[in-house]
């Protein structure tokens, strides 16, 4: 039986990873809370299998992504609509950089759950080998997908950002 206190302490230390996954996959605070709960529970159930031969953050990413990707809610919701919860200051003090960030965020929120996982790991600075390991695909496949994704995001972000 894994040590609950040890688990709580290690999750507390790495909780940013779960928050990131929740922010990318869910657009409302309530949904993010639900997903946070689900990821934490899945991590707790699998904690006994963590052998320490990989970094805890990499292991937690794998748990979090597996959970987020297969996280289907009871009712199929409308396509994700951008909310200002992630960028609350937008409505008050607009600046160019924030506009670009919000446009990219909106473009990411429209991606499929697999593409979101790839973007997440990419912005976290994992290399293609590590991303391939986590996703269960080859590094070449990751590279091809990333090229496609970057151009897709560039096009999609243009819709939301006025030059």
């Amino acid at each position: 039986m894994p040590d609950e206190q040890e688990f709580i302490s290690v999750i507390n230390k790495h909780q940013k990873i779960i928050h990131k996954v929740c922010s990318v996959y869910m657009d409302t605070q309530t949904d993010r809370e639900d997903l946070f709960q689900e990821i934490t529970l899945q991590a707790w159930k699998s904690f006994s299998t963590f052998r320490g031969d990989a970094q805890f953050s990499t292991w937690l990413y794998r748990v979090a992504l597996n959970t987020a990707i297969t996280f289907f809610r009871k009712e199929k919701k409308q396509p994700l609509v951008f909310t200002t919860e992630i960028f609350p200051e937008l409505s008050e003090q607009k600046n160019e950089n924030e506009d670009q960030l919000s446009a990219m965020y909106k473009a990411i929120s429209e991606l499929s759950s697999i593409d979101k996982a790839l973007v997440m790991l990419y912005i976290e600075d994992y290399n293609y080998n590590e991303i391939g390991d986590m996703m269960g695909i080859t590094p070449n496949n990751v590279a091809v997908k990333m090229i496609r994704l970057k151009s897709k995001l560039k096009e999609a972000a243009k819709k939301y950002y006025q030059f």
Partner: protein
């Protein structure tokens, strides 16, 4: 505007959510999960409960039914229900062990997909095999049993020169039962697992593209 230009800022933004205390995290561990795997587990537990109920019913009927033919019939199906029960327990154990293993995303999706698809296929095949077996079995047993055999003979004697009515009725009855069970089983399995399988399949296909 490129993803690479905004990479670091996005990373910070996504992480800039509220922090949870250790007490909040401890409280979360007491709650229930509601993932797709959990839903599948619930479906399998439901099947298991239904199977146990049917098994007990068969045992009761096999022991106490007044008709000899039906006692033999239900006793025979106890074995088949027991086999189905073992398959269900195996699947539940497999899903629980999968739930505690952290696989790469694609392998995780493929494993869940394979288990459920296999279960759905076996369930359908088993039900379809049961139809002719049940029908032949019940007719044979009724014919062999003296009391029912006389009733059967009486019915045939009454029809005598109109045997085609008897055969037509049998064919219509068997066909309707077969078609009804075929479509009901398909609908039921699709309702329980169809949507999950479609979602899992589309994710696997996307990863392979």
């Amino acid at each position: 505007m490129e993803l690479d230009e905004l990479k670091n800022q996005l990373n910070e933004k996504f992480a800039a959510d509220q922090n949870k205390s250790t007490t909040d995290i401890a409280a979360l561990l007491k709650k229930q999960t509601f993932s797709i795997v959990r839903k599948l587990q619930r479906s399998l537990w439901f099947d298991l409960a239904a199977n146990v109920f049917v098994l007990l019913l068969f045992i009761w009927q096999g022991l106490y039914n007044s008709s000899w033919a039906l006692r033999v019939y239900f006793s025979s199906f106890i074995i088949l229900s027991a086999v189905a029960l073992i398959i269900l327990i195996y699947l539940i154990k497999k899903i629980y062990s999968l739930n505690n293993t952290v696989l790469p995303v694609k392998q995780n999706l493929e494993t869940i997909y394979t288990i459920i698809k296999e279960y759905k296929k076996r369930c359908f095949q088993l039900t379809m095999i049961f139809i002719p077996v049940c029908i032949i079995f019940i007719f044979l047993l009724n014919y062999v049993e003296n009391k029912s055999g006389h009733q059967f003979d009486n019915l045939i004697n009454k029809l005598n020169d109109r045997m085609w009515i008897f055969y037509t009725a049998i064919i219509v009855y068997v066909s309707m039962i077969t078609i009804g069970i075929y479509y009901f089983t398909k609908w039921w399995l699709k309702k329980l697992y169809g949507k999950y399988l479609d979602q899992l399949k589309s994710l696997i296909v996307e990863l392979e593209e």
